[in-house]
Each structure stands twice: as C-alpha cells, then as structure tokens.
C-alpha cells in the first residue's frame, strides 16, 4: 500500500500547478496509471479521496486512465501492444516473430495528465 505516498507526491504537483495558473479550486484530476506501474487504481482512488480533504482539490473528481503495457521487439522491430497481463494466456514473447528479446517501452507510467480548475 504505497499508493498513499504516491498520492502525497501527486498533491505536491497539483498545488504547485494551481499556484502557477492561479486556480481557486481544482474540480477534476486526471491521471494515467500504467498497468505495470505497481499501483492499484482502486487503492489509488481511496488514497486520493482521503488525502484531498482540506486541499485545493477538496471537491475534485478523480479520473483514472489505465495505460496498457507496450513492448518493442528486438527480433523484428515491431511494437507490441499487449492484452491483459494478468490473463493466463498472456505471453511476454513477440506475437509476430516469437522472439523473447522484447523490451518494455510503456506501461510503468504514473502521470498527472490534466486538471480542471476554477479561476
């Protein structure tokens, strides 16, 4: 349950951004959570709503977009957008050429994408 410490870092960014753009209130927060980021969206949501009290985002809604894992194959050079990594049929090997030399290029991201604010 490290989601709370990540949410604490998120609020540092939210407050800094709000100051920069002169927001009176933040009404919506949208984050991108990679499937392999180690963060559980539902725990993140719980942590967000408990942390927001008394902050500029006191009433904010949270939107979470889970971003899928993407690999690059060093065998054939193709980019691989994968299916669900928790499925038993999931394979880390390249579906095009079968190579196991694949490298993760996205899916570990944790990003504050945008804010909706009131000025």
């Amino acid at each position: 349950m490290h989601e709370l410490s990540i949410v604490a870092d998120l609020f540092t960014i939210i407050e800094e951004q709000s100051r920069q753009v002169g927001a009176k209130r933040v009404t919506k927060v949208r984050v991108l959570i990679g499937e392999l980021s180690g963060v559980v969206p539902e725990l993140f949501r719980t942590a967000f709503h408990s942390y927001k009290k008394g902050t500029i985002a006191d009433k904010a809604r949270l939107e979470i977009k889970v971003t899928r894992v993407k690999f690059k194959c060093h065998g054939c050079g193709q980019e691989i957008k994968t299916g669900d990594i928790s499925s038993p049929d999931f394979s880390y090997a390249c579906p095009f050429c079968g190579s196991k030399e694949v490298e993760l290029i996205s899916g570990r991201d944790l990003c504050l994408e945008k804010l909706e604010i009131e000025t």
């Binding site: 870092d9 540092t12 960014i13 980021s37 180690g38 944790l110 000025t119």
Partner: protein
C-alpha cells in the same frame, strides 16, 4: 460572478520528485566510484543473510557498507555490524518501501571511500519496485520456500531488476520448486536478467555473485577513469 472552469494540461510524472532525488544520489555515488545495490524481496527470503555472506567474502579487500530499511527495529543493522561492517538503519515507521528522500536524509553519513553500498529495502515484493533509490544495480531475490510461480505474479520487481537471485537453494531437494522453470519465467519477463542460484548454508553461488559484483565495480571505475 460566474466561476470560470478551464482545463490545464500538466503531463507531469507523479514520481518525478523521487526520480530527481534518486538521479542526484546516483550521480554522487557513481562519481565517488561507489557501486550501490538495491535489494528487493518479500520478508524472510534471506536478504540480510545473503548480505552477511557477501559482506564476509568482500570485506577483506573492499570497503562495504549497508543501509537497512525496515518498518521497525534496528535488528538487521545490528546483524550487519556484528560481522564488522558499518550499517545505517532507516526505520520507516509503517511505510512499506524506501524512497530516495529517506536515503538523502542519511547520505552525509555514508563514507566517500566505500566500494560497495548495499541497500536492503523493506521486505515487500510489490511496493519497493516503484521507487528508484539511485542505485546502480537492483537485485530481486526469491527463496525456494516461496514457490516458483512468483515472477509473473510480481512482474514489476523482475522487470526493473538487473539481477535475479534464487536463495535457499539447499532446500531444492525437499520442495516442489522448479529452479529451471522459475529462471525461464523470469527471463521471459526480462531477458537481460543475470541469474544466480545461492545457498547461505552450503555457500553455493556466493562466489560467482561476488565475482559479478567485483566486475560491475570495475566497470563503474573504468567508466569514471
């Protein structure tokens, strides 16, 4: 007056602040020629015991220090001090992982002439994987009693590591743990992993692991020269 709503595009990495501190720690350590290793595993898989064995093997020829991360107590740091190595305990008081800022707080106490700095993370195969500490190498450990189905269940720890250490290999004859299967599964997730099979009881694998660490230290020093 009517409130005006607008959307602000931010696109900022939420862990950016941790990554920034970690990068600064990595730069300082590498400039000093210190090879830092972050050890990840679940509790009881043998991180401290492995460090005792590696420490005893390396301490005559190298300066070795250990940072111990635990939720409570100085027990692990005391074990390391008993074998004659300096150890610094970070007590997280409940946090399930170490963060770069925790290391930054004790960084001034780390001697500049160390060769190896081991950082034993809080026992947890999940959360520590998300936090860069400024290490040069990350080890993920898995002990034989934990079972051979773990790499795909905890992929982030295996994807972000450079070295996979199977510990308690002396128990292989007694438990249904397929070391070849677990190695293949870990390599499927991360083909670049170096894999070592070790036992602190029989000493198996400790020597090759130390030789690997010495090679990595040489590479770092060569890069600096």
């Amino acid at each position: 007056m009517e409130k005006r709503k607008k959307e602000v595009l931010v696109l900022e990495d939420i862990l950016g602040s941790n990554k920034k501190i970690a990068s600064s720690i990595r730069k300082k350590l590498e400039e000093k020629g210190i090879l830092a290793i972050n050890l990840l595993s679940s509790p009881g898989s043998g991180k401290t015991t492995l460090l005792e064995k590696i420490g005893l093997r390396l301490k005559d020829r190298y300066k070795v220090g250990v940072i111990e991360g635990d939720i409570e107590t100085e027990r692990d740091a005391e074990r390391i001090r008993k074998i004659g190595l300096p150890a610094w305990q970070i007590i997280t008081h409940g946090a399930c992982h170490l963060e770069a800022k925790m290391l930054a707080q004790i960084f001034d106490r780390i001697p500049a002439d160390l060769d190896f700095l081991f950082i034993e993370n809080v026992g947890n195969l999940v959360c520590p994987a998300s936090f860069d500490l400024g290490e040069s190498l990350r080890f993920v450990l898995l002990s034989v009693p934990e079972g051979d189905d773990k790499p795909r269940k905890y992929p982030e720890a295996f994807i972000t590591s450079q070295v996979f250490v199977i510990t308690k290999a002396d128990l292989l004859p007694y438990l249904p743990f397929d070391a070849d299967r677990v190695t293949a599964e870990a390599l499927e997730i991360n083909p670049k992993l170096e894999v070592f099979r070790t036992s602190a009881i029989t000493g198996e694998g400790i020597e090759p692991l130390c030789q690997y660490l010495e090679k990595k230290l040489q590479e770092l020093r060569t890069k600096n020269a």
